[in-house]
C-alpha cells in the first residue's frame, strides 16, 4: 500500500531550454546565485574557480564576418539519470562519501555539503562542468549576509556544490500542499529560480513524465537535443534550437569522425 503510493508519486523533473529565445542576458545566473546563496569573490574572471550553478555559455558557428552567428546556452546541472534511468549518473557513481545521490522519486541529483569531503571525483566525472569546488571559505561583505536565503545552507571551504533544481522550493511547495491536505503539486507551484526569473521565458521546468506539464511535449520537438547524448548520461535538461549548427554543437564530433564511421561500417 505504502509502496504503491510512493510509486505514483514518482516524478522526473527536468528542463527544456529554448535557445532561440535565450538572449544570454545572464538573469538566470544571478537569480540562481541570489536564491542559492552562491558565494562570490573579488575577482571572478577566472572561470575555472568561479561558482555558477547555471552558467551561460556563448557558442559561435566559427564563420567569419559577416556570416558569424552566436548562440547562448545556459547550463544547469543535467541531473543525469544514466542508462535505463538507474540513477547511475557519472557523479553519483564515483562519490566515495555518498555525498551525492540520485533521488528516484524526483529524479534530482543531490549534493550534501556536510557529507562531502572534497575529493572532487565527481567534478572529474561530470562531463558538463556542472560541479564547482569551494577553494575558499565564502565571505559575504559585512551586512550582505542579511540577504542570505535560510532555505539553502551556505557552504564551507573544501566542498563541492552544484545546481539542485532549487529543491528547497519543492520542499516549500510540498509543505504548503501538505497543510492544504494535498500530496500533489500543480505545475506552477514548483519552479526553479532561473525559470521564474528568465525574462525571455526560455526555460520551462516540470515533470518530464507528466503529460500535463509543458516540458512533456516540448522535449519531443524535432528541434530538441541534449548535451553529449552519446555518453548515455541521460540528462534531464533538453535544449531547443532551430539552428542546425547549434544542435550539432551539443555533442562532440571529431573532425574526421564521419570518415572513421564509414570505415567501420
Amino acid at each position: 500500500m505504502k509502496k504503491e503510493h510512493k510509486h505514483e508519486n514518482t516524478k522526473k523533473f527536468g528542463m527544456v531550454i529554448d535557445l532561440d529565445k535565450c538572449t544570454g542576458c545572464g538573469a538566470c545566473m544571478v537569480a540562481c546565485m541570489a536564491e542559492n546563496n552562491v558565494p562570490f569573490k573579488k575577482d571572478e574572471s577566472d572561470k575555472l574557480d568561479s561558482i555558477t550553478w547555471i552558467c551561460v555559455y556563448k557558442l559561435t558557428n566559427g564563420k567569419s564576418f559577416p556570416d558569424t552567428e552566436i548562440c547562448y546556452l545556459p547550463r544547469p546541472c543535467m541531473h543525469c539519470s544514466g542508462i535505463g534511468e538507474h540513477g547511475h549518473s557519472p557523479c553519483v557513481s564515483v562519490c566515495p562519501a555518498t555525498a551525492t545521490d540520485y533521488d528516484h522519486t524526483t529524479g534530482i541529483v543531490s549534493q550534501i555539503y556536510t557529507r562531502c569531503f572534497g575529493c572532487r571525483y565527481c567534478m572529474a566525472a561530470c562531463p558538463y562542468h556542472a560541479r564547482y569546488f569551494n577553494w575558499w571559505d565564502p565571505v559575504w561583505p559585512e551586512g550582505m549576509e542579511k540577504s542570505l536565503n535560510p532555505d539553502v545552507s551556505p557552504r564551507m571551504r573544501g566542498v563541492v556544490e552544484k545546481c539542485s533544481f532549487c529543491f528547497h522550493r519543492y520542499q516549500a511547495a510540498m509543505d504548503k500542499a501538505y497543510t492544504e491536505g494535498r500530496r500533489e503539486l500543480e505545475e506552477d507551484e514548483y519552479q526553479t529560480a532561473c525559470t521564474q526569473a528568465c525574462p525571455a521565458g526560455a526555460i520551462t521546468f516540470g515533470d518530464l513524465d507528466n503529460p500535463d506539464h509543458k516540458v512533456y511535449e516540448l522535449k519531443k520537438s524535432p528541434n530538441a537535443f541534449r548535451l553529449l547524448e552519446r555518453l548515455k548520461t541521460n540528462p534531464k535538461v533538453y535544449y531547443l534550437s532551430s539552428r542546425d549548427w547549434v544542435r550539432k554543437a551539443g555533442d562532440n564530433y571529431l573532425e574526421a569522425e564521419s570518415k572513421v564511421k564509414k570505415k567501420i561500417v
Binding site: P66, E142, E145
Partner: protein
C-alpha cells in the same frame, strides 16, 4: 603493588578496553564530525516568516515591478511581479542583484563632509543638522548676493515627485538650471516635438509589431525597458515576426535577429532615407496617412527621390543595393512594421537626423499611434501642486538664461544639454555654477570625456551629492547627503521608457533604513524650511511622505497594494487630432526646417554624417562602444553578482578586452589575449585583444560599464571607462552630444 612496566601496560590495556567499551570515543567522533561541519565563520541565515512586498526596481529607467521576499525583517530575494504591465514576472540580473546594493558595505552610513582634496576620498562624518545647515547657509549667501541662478541640479529623471520637488525648489529659489542626464529620449523628444508637435515621449508597441527594423538599438541588450524588450523578443519568436538588426557589430540583438545587416557606423540615417526612397518610388507607402495627415510629403518625396537612391546609399552605408531594396519591400509589406533607433541601450542621445529619418519610415507606412507602431505618449499628469509664488529674487533668477543654453535662441528645441553645461562651466572665467546638487546621476562617469567633466566639477565651489555610495561623482563632491536606498523609501516612479501604457509605480520601504540616511524629498523640504520666506511657503508639507500621499490621492491605496497604478483610460489619439504642429499634421521635414532647411531643402539637412574625432591617417581604426546587460553602465555600476557574470573574453582580472576582427588583427600582427595600447585623440588605455568574427573589419569595440573607481573592490579598478576615451560631438543645431565613436590606433604592448 608497584606500577612497573608490565602493570603500567596492563593499566593501559585496561584503559583502552574500558574506553572502547565506554561511549567516549564514539560520542566524541560524532560530536567532532558535527563540529567540523559547522564552522563559526560560515553564516547560518536565520529562518522566519516569509512575506512578499511589492515595489518597483529603480536601478534603471525600465521600471520593472518587483516583489521582494522577506524572512522576518530581512530582504532575501528580488523577483518579478507576475502580470505587471512592464515585466510580467521577468527580472534582469541587475534587478536581481539589488539586495547587494541595499546591504552592501560601501553604502554611505551618514552625511559626509570632504576634508581632503576633491577626489581624494577623505571624509568626515557630520550630523544631518550640520549638513543641512551648511547647505542652507551656502544657498542663503548666494541668494542674498543675487546669484540664485548659479545654483544647478543634475538629475537622472525629470518625472515624479522627487524631481518635481527639486525643480520646485529651484524655481522658488530662483534658478532655471535643472538638468536631466542625456539619453536617446532627448533626441526622440525633440524629433517628436518637431514632427508631431507638443511635448511627448516615444512609446513603442513592440509586442504587436510583426516586422521590426532596428537601427542599432540593442533591443535585448538593455534598450528602453530591458525585460519588456526581451519578452517582446520571445513574442516575436512565437509569432514568427521578423527582426532586422542594422549595426556594424554582431551584438546579442543582432545574433537573435532574423537578419543582421552590418552597416558602416554612423550612416544609419542614410540607410533609413534609402529605404524611404524605395518605398516612395515603388509607391509602397500608406497613402491614407501620407495624403491626409502629413503636411509636407511632397517636399520630403522630392528630396528623398533626388538624393537617396539605393546606389548612393549603398556607397554611403556599405549595405548592398539588393539588401536595401529587399528591406524596403519587406518593411512596407509587413502589416505592422516598426522602425526604431537609439544605439545600444540608448544611453547617448545620438543623431536627430537618424531619429527623424527612422521616424519618417514609420510615418510612410502609417504606423504612428497604431498597434505595433510608435506612439507619441504624454507623461502621466498627476502632480497638481499650487503654483510657486516667487519673490523678487526668484523671479529675476528664473528669467536668466540656462547655463546649458537649452531653450535659448540658439537651441530652442532642446530641453536639457548637459554636455553644453560642462562646456559652459569650463569656458567661463568664473564658473556660472556656484552650487550644484546631483541626484540619481553619475555624470563624472557617464558623460563622454570624463576628464573634462571632472574639470568642470573642480570649478564649482560647492557640490552636494545625494548618492548612497561613493561613485565617481560623489567622490568629487564637498558634501554627501546620503539618500535612502530605493528599497528603504517611498517614491513614485512614473514609467516612461518606451512604454505604450500610462503607469505609475511606487517604490516602497521594504526594509527599515539600514543607516543614518535621509529621503531626498525630506532633505529638500527641510532645506526649504531653513531658507524660509517664499521658499518655505512653496513647500507646505511636513515631510515627503505627506507630500507624496497628498499628490497621489486616490491612487495611493492601489499603489501600496499592487506596487503600480495603470491608467485604464490611457490611449493615444487617432491620426485625426494627433498632431500639434503648426500645420496640425505630421511633418516629415519638421527636423529639417529646424535645421534651417525651411526654403531650400537639401540632402545635407536630412543627413550629414557625424564627423568623429581624429584623422584617419594617425588613427586608422574606429572605436565604438557596446552595451551589455551584464555590465550596468548608468549611474549605478555592477554589484558583485552582476560582475561575476561577465565573460572572461570581456574582462580578465583587471584587464578589459576590446573586440577586433581577426582580419584586422592580422594586419597588426596581434593575436587573442595579446596586450595592446589603444590610443584615441582623448586618451589611451592598456587593453587585451579578443578576436571576434562578428565585428566589422577596421572597427574595434569596447564594453561600457567598466573602469569604475568605486564603490567596492568587486568593481573598482576593473577595465577602462569607455567615456575616458571619447569626447562629445555637438550637433550644431540642437546642441545634443551625437557622438557614436572615435578614431583610434593600436600598438602592440
Amino acid at each position: 603493588m608497584k606500577l612497573n612496566r608490565r602493570n603500567f601496560l596492563s593499566l593501559g590495556v585496561g584503559v583502552v578496553a574500558g574506553t572502547t567499551l565506554s561511549p567516549l570515543p564514539w560520542k566524541l567522533m560524532d560530536d567532532v564530525s558535527i563540529w567540523t561541519q559547522n564552522w563559526p565563520w560560515t553564516p547560518v541565515p536565520p529562518d522566519g516568516e516569509v512575506t512578499y512586498e511589492k515595489s518597483v526596481c529603480t536601478l534603471c529607467p525600465g521600471g520593472c515591478g518587483i516583489t521582494v521576499r522577506k524572512i522576518d525583517d530581512r530582504a532575501v530575494k528580488i523577483e518579478g511581479i507576475e502580470g505587471h504591465p512592464v515585466n510580467d514576472g521577468g527580472v534582469c540580473l541587475l534587478g536581481l542583484s539589488g539586495l547587494q546594493l541595499l546591504y552592501g558595505p560601501t553604502r554611505i552610513k551618514s552625511p559626509l563632509k570632504r576634508v581632503g582634496e576633491r577626489g581624494e576620498g577623505k571624509w568626515q562624518t557630520i550630523s544631518w543638522n550640520q549638513a543641512l545647515t551648511e547647505v542652507a547657509v551656502k544657498l542663503g549667501e548666494l541668494r542674498s548676493n543675487d546669484r540664485s541662478h548659479t545654483v544647478a541640479c543634475i538629475s537622472g529623471s525629470d518625472q515624479g515627485t522627487v524631481p518635481g520637488l527639486l525643480n520646485r525648489f529651484l524655481t522658488a529659489y530662483g534658478s532655471p538650471n535643472y538638468i536631466r542626464t542625456p539619453s536617446i529620449h532627448d533626441s526622440y523628444e525633440i524629433a517628436l516635438s518637431l514632427m508631431h508637435g507638443g511635448q511627448s515621449s516615444a512609446g513603442f508597441d513592440v509586442e504587436n509589431a510583426d516586422f521590426v527594423l532596428s537601427f542599432g538599438s540593442g533591443i535585448i541588450d538593455g534598450w528602453m525597458s530591458p525585460v519588456r524588450m526581451i519578452k517582446a523578443n520571445s513574442i516575436w519568436k512565437n509569432e514568427k515576426s521578423k527582426v532586422v538588426q542594422i549595426e556594424p557589430r554582431l551584438s546579442n540583438t543582432a545574433a537573435k535577429s532574423d537578419t543582421w545587416v552590418p552597416i558602416k557606423p554612423g550612416t544609419d540615417a542614410a540607410l533609413a532615407l534609402g529605404l524611404a526612397h524605395v518605398i516612395i518610388k515603388e509607391s509602397l507607402y500608406n497613402k491614407d496617412f501620407v495624403e491626409k495627415y502629413a503636411f509636407d510629403f511632397n517636399a520630403f518625396k522630392t528630396i528623398v527621390l533626388e538624393s537617396f537612391g539605393p546606389d548612393d546609399v549603398a556607397k554611403i552605408t556599405g549595405v548592398d543595393k539588393k539588401t536595401i531594396l529587399s528591406l524596403a519591400k519587406q518593411f512596407a509589406g509587413a502589416s505592422k512594421p516598426l522602425a526604431i533607433c537609439g544605439r545600444g541601450q540608448g544611453k547617448t542621445p545620438g543623431s536627430i537626423d537618424e531619429v527623424a529619418a527612422v521616424h519618417a519610415l514609420n510615418a510612410l507606412v502609417g504606423n504612428i499611434n497604431k498597434p505595433g507602431g510608435v506612439w507619441a505618449v504624454s507623461q502621466p499628469d498627476y502632480i497638481k501642486w499650487p503654483e510657486v509664488q516667487m519673490d523678487a529674487v526668484a523671479s529675476s533668477g528664473m528669467k536668466r538664461e540656462r547655463v546649458d543654453g537649452a531653450g535659448s535662441e540658439k537651441f530652442p528645441n532642446a530641453n536639457y544639454l548637459l554636455n553644453r553645461w560642462v562646456g559652459a562651466v569650463n569656458s567661463s572665467k568664473e564658473s556660472p555654477v556656484q552650487a550644484l546638487f546631483i541626484t540619481d546621476a553619475n555624470p563624472c562617469y557617464t558623460l563622454s570625456d570624463t576628464s573634462v567633466v571632472k574639470k568642470a566639477f573642480d570649478r564649482i565651489p560647492f557640490v552636494v551629492s545625494f548618492s548612497s555610495n561613493i561613485n565617481e561623482t560623489a567622490l568629487n563632491a564637498d558634501l554627501i547627503l546620503p539618500s535612502h536606498a530605493s528599497l528603504e523609501r517611498y517614491e513614485d516612479v512614473p514609467l516612461s521608457a518606451g512604454l505604450t501604457k500610462s503607469v505609475i509605480a511606487l517604490s516602497k520601504p521594504v526594509v527599515k533604513p539600514q543607516f543614518n540616511t535621509k529621503h531626498v524629498g525630506d532633505v529638500i523640504i527641510e532645506i526649504a524650511k531653513k531658507l524660509g520666506g517664499s521658499i518655505e511657503e512653496a513647500f507646505p508639507w511636513d515631510d515627503y511622505e505627506t507630500c507624496l500621499k497628498a499628490t497621489l490621492g486616490d491612487k495611493w491605496d492601489a499603489l501600496v497594494e499592487n506596487g503600480y497604478w495603470s491608467d485604464p483610460d490611457f490611449g493615444v489619439p487617432p491620426w485625426e487630432g494627433a498632431f500639434a504642429t503648426g500645420s496640425m499634421k505630421f511633418e516629415f521635414l519638421g527636423v529639417v526646417r529646424a535645421r534651417g532647411g525651411e526654403k531650400d531643402v537639401q540632402a545635407k539637412h536630412l543627413f550629414t554624417p557625424v564627423t568623429i574625432e581624429g584623422n584617419e591617417k594617425s588613427y586608422p581604426l574606429t572605436l565604438i562602444p557596446y552595451d551589455s546587460l551584464r555590465l550596468a553602465n548608468g549611474s549605478i555600476g555592477d554589484p558583485p553578482f552582476a560582475i561575476k557574470t561577465v565573460e572572461d573574453t570581456v574582462l580578465k582580472h583587471k584587464d578589459v578586452f576590446i573586440e577586433m576582427n581577426p582580419e584586422t588583427a592580422e594586419a597588426y600582427d596581434i593575436s587573442e589575449g595579446d596586450y595592446a595600447v589603444l590610443n584615441t585623440p582623448k586618451g589611451k588605455a592598456r587593453v587585451k585583444i579578443h578576436l571576434f568574427d562578428g565585428i566589422m573589419p577596421g572597427l574595434v569595440a569596447m564594453p561600457t560599464g567598466l573602469g569604475h573607481t568605486g564603490p567596492d573592490e568587486y568593481l573598482a579598478g576593473k577595465g577602462i571607462n569607455f567615456n575616458e576615451l571619447i569626447g562629445p560631438v555637438e550637433d550644431a543645431d540642437f546642441g545634443l552630444d551625437v557622438v557614436w565613436g572615435i578614431r583610434a590606433n593600436l600598438t602592440k604592448a
